[in-house]
Amino acid sequence: MKKVSIDRRRFIKLSTLSGGGLMIGFMLPGLPSFGQTIPDCEFFQPNALIRISKNGEVTIFVARQEMGQGVNTSLPMIVADELEADWKKVKTEIAPYGSMANGAHDTGGSQSVLTDYTTLRKAGAVAKAMLVAAAAKQWNISPDKCAADNGTVVNTTNMKTISYGELVCVAATLPVPAEVTLKSPKDFKLIGKEQKKSNLKDILTGKAKFGIDLKVPGMVYASIERCPVLGGKLVSVNDSEAKEVAGFIKVVTYEGTGKPMHVRPGVAVIATSFWAAEQARDLLKIKWDVGQGYKANTVELFNTMAVRSKQPAAIEKFKKGTVNPIKIASQNSHIAEYKEPFLAHATMEPVNFIAQVKGDNCEMWGGLQLPDWTVNQVAADCGFKKENIKVNLAMIGGGFGRRLHFEFAIEAVKIAKQLDTAVKVIWNRKDDIRFQGYRPANYHRLEASWSKSGELQTWYHHVLSTSIAVMTDGPQTPDPSENQGGAMADFYYKVPNVKTGYTNVDFNINRGWLRSVEICMNSFPVESFIDEVARKMKKDPLAFRLSLLDGREMFLVGEGPGAMKQYPQRIANVLKLAAEKIGYDRPRKKNHFIGVATHSFIFAKSYAAHAIEIELLGPKNFRIKRVVAAIDCGIVINPDGLKNQMEGGLAFALQQALKGEITIQNGKVDQSGFHNYQLLRYNEMPPVEIYTIASEEEPGGVGEVGLPTVAPALCNALAAAGYRPRSLPLKNEGFSWG
């Protein structure tokens, strides 16, 4: 058995741990050196993040990609707070790619706020210090007789003020201070106060430009027919009928790639409009050699996993004490198996990308969650020098991890190489649902035993899934269980003997990171199983959980600088808050049932619990009456953004619990649109309340923490009503809801 230490999410490795992050004092090329007066200066730009113009307008550049999670508001708020800017005069812009250090644009894993928090504060503080120094110079007084406030500097002796705009020309000549003092959190003016999205007005008036809205002069359009089975090859294409479509330009073919992105071979129709390209594409006659991949079948995959789950895991993830296998459950032990399907991202903005190749140079336009990796891979797969690739980032109409993958960029460049104009590739909805890196299918076997006196003694969790790392790194990956582990070293319930392991079961479909990735995959079985165990022990599931959490000290997960802190008490606290707010202890109406679940999103330093009340309307027919979410994410930057993420997380997770499912037969994905990959709908959104634990801990990330406990809380409510769903989505288990 191979032993692997705790894994961290790949995007964290790619960005923060590789020494990335933002750099302050980072001068933009072309600006004059310090100490010189700048004739006709128009603005002051002390670093790549902040520009203050003469009219007092403050532009804050946002390096992380905005895709609905609100970084274009929360990150500027952090800067503006230290800068003492007037928020009404703050504009935000996408930071040009290349203006920041490597890794600065990477967006994923709920990492933006927690990674950038201190750097952004410093950037704001540096600019403020320079503006204060400029005012002091102007007034010929000591800087400690000056204070910054709401876009002005105040002379604290005579209360005269001067606006930031009036100071830019002097500030621009001053040296950047090496050290700055940051505000005490109690003095925060913006952080912690609800702010609306910085681009709200643009969204509401239709002016906001997403990647799909961009145009490049001379641009043509492409629609692509891709090999239906992963690993297949193009045999032939006949475009004689397609050619007849008005607007048709030509057909371009390209070969697929292997790891990391698994671009499928494609036949792209180039046309003067996307509509024409689509029409012509329908008329293509293509022969594919699908290779051996056609054998892939999800029904068989789950059968294999079920059989394999009873055998020892291939990789040991975590071990504490002694855990012996339990073959048959007794009065003092319990066994359960759970399964969850492949899932698609299905972002509202269909995937799209623009590329243009001119000789040795390549330019790209669109949304990318990992632009650095994209550039490296496009260079490698398409034969460009990295420095000859230019990226123009765009706002993303829903990310959820879809654009951590970038096979669409490689495709677009492969096509652009064969054209002498820019090309915009748009994936239609069918393409989007049928071809992507899916959230892996997964299967779990859990076993637990307890003493006669009711003390939980052993906990065993065997996770089986179709590894993401095997797809991105190839079968030789150092850790196929990366992003997939079960309860590991971070397992928060107090149990003396714990053993967890992972087995990869390979399957011919690409896999990728979907919002909450492994935490969602594992919370469902873990938080369902603890509930099952409590019920079998005839204990209240809430009290039982708390007995295993309350009073438990913080412990470290992992070693060295990458070690993470796990706080069982914070996990208990959010659970208590959710239970209290839903009225867990109050008498319940007839046919009303409550389920709870809690967890820590350790990578994002956030904790959340859900309590869900359902009404049973008939056999296997229920209505969700109320959802209460409680969260502890340390210091909250934008309470409105936090609420948005928790509400949206609920909708996203409910879709997974109720109906989300990708199935594969003969190597082909069965689903092809919103009619058979159903999203949650307006009438299915339950009433939701969000409660936050006040905290002075460093801020955590909130983009994903709102998902993992939704499905188990709902299933635990159903268990209270007499059902125990162990397989998602619930639609397949005969449930209906209204």
Partner: protein, 154 residues
């Protein structure tokens, strides 16, 4: 190719297009009105909703030929500066997350209220359940819809 006269947002446009080209692509790619979004192309998401003669319609399902001569309103023409009551309610409630579906959501509400200023809860549910939002802003859409209804019936 044929030539069509379109009336969009009180302006008249002449476009050369295949008669069955959906209005969606004419608006987005020819008239540069990109506030109307492509989400599915098959009437399954509502992102492309515009008003045609005051009815909310899926522009992915209306050919340019059928649209010619009708009165078309897109999000860009809903108000000069985002002050239509629906936009104002959306702003107040801070509905959007990524924002991609929101122009379609708002146009659907505008269409609904043009036909009926006091729709019942069931009517709202039936209409709004046809517009998808992957970010899950439904909770806020509901609140905003109720605010507009209250506002316009004052």
């Amino acid at each position: 190719m044929a030539s069509f006269q379109l009336s969009v947002n009180n302006k008249s446009f002449s476009v050369e297009a295949e008669p069955d080209m959906p209005l969606l692509w004419v608006l987005r790619d020819m008239l540069d009105l990109t506030g109307t979004k492509f989400g599915c192309g098959v009437s399954a998401c509502g992102a492309c909703t515009v008003l045609i003669n005051d009815h909310a319609m899926r522009s992915c399902q209306v050919s340019v030929k059928a649209a010619a001569g009708q009165t078309i309103t897109t999000i860009e023409g809903l108000s000069e500066d985002g002050t239509h009551p629906v936009q104002k309610a959306w702003e107040k409630v801070a509905v959007p997350q990524c924002g991609y579906c929101q122009t379609g959501q708002m146009m659907t509400v505008v269409g609904l209220l043009k036909q009926n200023k006091r729709p019942t809860e069931e009517e709202i549910d039936a209409v709004m359940s046809q517009n998808l939002c992957r970010c899950g802003t439904y909770h806020r859409i509901k609140e905003a819809v109720h605010q507009v209804i209250e506002e316009i019936n004052k």
